[in-house]
Amino acid sequence: MATGPGLESLVDQTISVITNDGRNIVGVLKGFDQATNIILDESHERVYSTKEGVQQLVLGLYIIRGDNISVVGEIDDELDSSLDMSKLRAHPLKPVIH
């Protein structure tokens, strides 16, 4: 099969995963497979709310099942450090409805 949009290029990079239940988990990609199952190291969850800035919860080493993954984004470190998370207000993302 032709080479598609694999995640090879993102290994050992910081990525942002949006899950089907609307969570946003940021960590270093350590592994993945055909089903988009993902191993994240040094991960934390970014919790968005309209009442206060973004909360960061430390999660550590995580495996996320592919079924539950919507988007894997490559984090641009420069852009990310220029963001003031304590001032960001937003509704949490809606869950995916299939």
Partner: protein, 93 residues
């Protein structure tokens, strides 16, 4: 296979992908695979004020299973070729 081949033709074009969580991501189509997973470059979320969750992301991988729509550029669609390909696929050729 038809849609896989079709999306491969669109690589390099600007598309908007609407997800099943209502998020709309616009970017340049980088690649597609047999699951219709999509990789976009130079991405931006259509309503960044409402969805600041991807502000520091410029390249992303979207799982095919969460795609609701892909909005295509009008010049990316050649209806005649698509008609022919559809008939060929229907005949099982």
């Amino acid at each position: 296979m038809l849609f896989f081949s079709y999306f491969k033709e669109l690589v390099g074009k600007e598309v908007t992908v609407e997800l099943k969580n209502d998020l709309e991501i616009r970017g340049t189509l980088h690649s597609v695979d047999q699951y219709l997973n999509i990789k976009l470059e130079n991405t931006r979320v259509v309503d960044q004020d409402k969805y600041p969750h991807m502000l520091s992301v410029r390249n992303c991988f979207i799982r095919g299973s969460v795609v609701r729509y892909v909005q295509l550029p009008p010049d990316g669609v050649d209806i005649d070729i698509l008609h022919d390909a559809t008939r060929r696929e229907a005949r099982g050729a």
